[in-house]
Symmetry: C2
Subunit: 307 residues, 2 copies
């Protein structure tokens, strides 16, 4: 069985959307990635850190999805990373209300012995030096996927460049791709990113779907048009979990199969946004996923007669 | 051979984009629709009006594409409709600098005898009462497609409702769909529009593609990711021309075939934006269109193995 190593935050979130607000609930990039990748028949592990204020129930929730959390350190007397945000009415933008790094401030990731030769690595959004430190502990995996955000471009540019040059796939949202490359056209932005290292670039456009670039090839997956997006938190990480989970499961990292991985990622993300936080991902059944993949097919597939 | 009747403006445009500006050039919704539909083996006619300041060369250009312009009135001593606009740097928004209605102010459309029983009618963006007056001169066609814009919602709501309830397909952009229905979700907006009359709704999202809705079915066509959009003027009308031209050509107005029509429309629109005004559409070859349809296939088609 192929191994997927996930690095990222396991955290508390407090979320406010036009539909309601939550208290501190389970959040974090690695949590969303892990729950999403758990849809596939793979071995996965999360390298992360929490404080001892983190409920055992949350840890059990991950363990019960067959995710190895021996690499998730529990810091005695420490407090778990906390993020709080409020979405605007259109749900396309949000304000961060509070960020408490807590135990994340001194996080030194340690990859468990069992996962030092993973097939695929998903480096979730974190300080680039933490991402780099994980890579240095590994035998070169078949595929390394990196997610990042504008915060690291603004504050740790040189470190970010060091990790970007070492990865195979960069997943990034459209505005961040523009910031990273100073190109408005996403086609040009992707080409510039490829020159920084990653042979594959995934540009996430939220409700407008996701683009996969490789050499001169482009693939596009729409987001499923939904009646209502309830809470967009974690959609990008859920996408990344579906993308890497599918690649690990199939063991095929060709561009052709990455198209399928992008479709799987979009499919899983379309569930994530239906409820608050990780709620929808916790009870998601394989049959529901397969049914929605059929929706993606009707949404996008056509058989044209040329004129 | 199937007949497509096109109603809309034939006009002068002056356009400014970050890449340059034009003097008065050939423009108008019906012009773009006509040039786009001319890619198909159909009989088409434009019902419109111009002043006698309109160059014979421009009329010949349409005639040479086999478009019947006997229904395009030339008003003696009249001046042609003129629009001037300037695009912002991202090309997603623009300011109207000048609008001179001129002969359009008193336009009384007259459908030529030969086109009173068309198979398909494309009602381009115009005063709803002008659109209605055209419909009243016809034997009910197989399919009536209507395009409109926010201006008519703001100023002629009741008239707009009268024509909307009579058409089969509404094409409209995302912001206008939201304004028309007071729904943010495009899925909900499309459902509300269907209750106003049109059984099919096409929501155009510019660089983010187009959605086709019918009952509970949805189809999505992305816009082709381009290195550079040079001038977006006429892209929506070119889409409409490709959509209706393909439907007229195939004579098949099923939802399944409308998917192909949406793909054809998107393909033709991707050419339109490559040069100023109608320039690119004037010399577009069928082989180029077929080649780009292949690009659309690679962009969107996948063969997924379920896990």
């Amino acid at each position: 069985m192929n191994k997927l190593l996930i690095v990222g935050t396991v955290a508390f979130d407090a979320i406010e959307t036009p539909f309601g607000k939550t208290d501190k609930i389970l959040g974090g990039a690695a949590t969303y990635i892990g729950l999403s990748a758990a849809q596939f028949d793979i071995e996965s592990a999360i390298v992360s850190v929490v404080g001892d204020d983190f409920p055992q129930d949350y840890l059990d929730l991950l363990k019960n999805r067959n995710i190895d959390i021996t690499g998730t350190e529990i810091v005695k007397g420490g407090k778990t990373f906390f993020w709080s945000g409020k979405y605007h009415n259109d749900l396309n933008s949000r304000d961060t209300l509070d960020t408490q790094l807590n135990v994340l401030a001194d996080f030194q990731p340690v990859v468990p012995e069992d996962f030092k030769t993973p097939d695929i690595v998903m480096l979730g959004n974190l300080h680039p030096l933490v991402q780099l430190s994980v890579l240095e502990q590994l035998k070169r995996p078949k595929l390394v996927v990196l997610d990042t955000m504008n915060f690291w471009m603004d504050n740790t540019w040189d470190d970010l460049m060091k990790v970007i040059e070492k990865v195979d796939v960069l997943t990034i949202n459209d505005e961040e791709a523009r910031q990273l490359t100073e190109e408005y056209s996403l086609v040009k932005a992707a080409r510039k990113i490829a020159k920084m290292g990653p042979k594959y670039v995934v540009i996430k456009k939220g409700e407008h779907g996701a683009l996969l670039f490789h050499n001169n090839q482009i693939f596009f997956a729409p987001a499923l048009p939904l009646e209502e997006v309830f809470d967009p938190t974690g959609a990008g990480d859920t996408f990344a979990g579906g993308f890497t989970g599918y690649l690990a499961h199939t063991g095929d990292i060709s561009f052709k199969n990455m198209k399928n991985a992008v479709i799987y990622g979009s499919t899983l993300a379309s569930f994530c946004v239906e409820k608050f936080g990780t709620e929808r991902m916790q009870d998601l059944k394989k049959e529901e996923v397969h049914e929605r993949l059929e929706d993606f097919k009707s949404l996008t597939q056509f058989q044209i007669k040329l004129t």
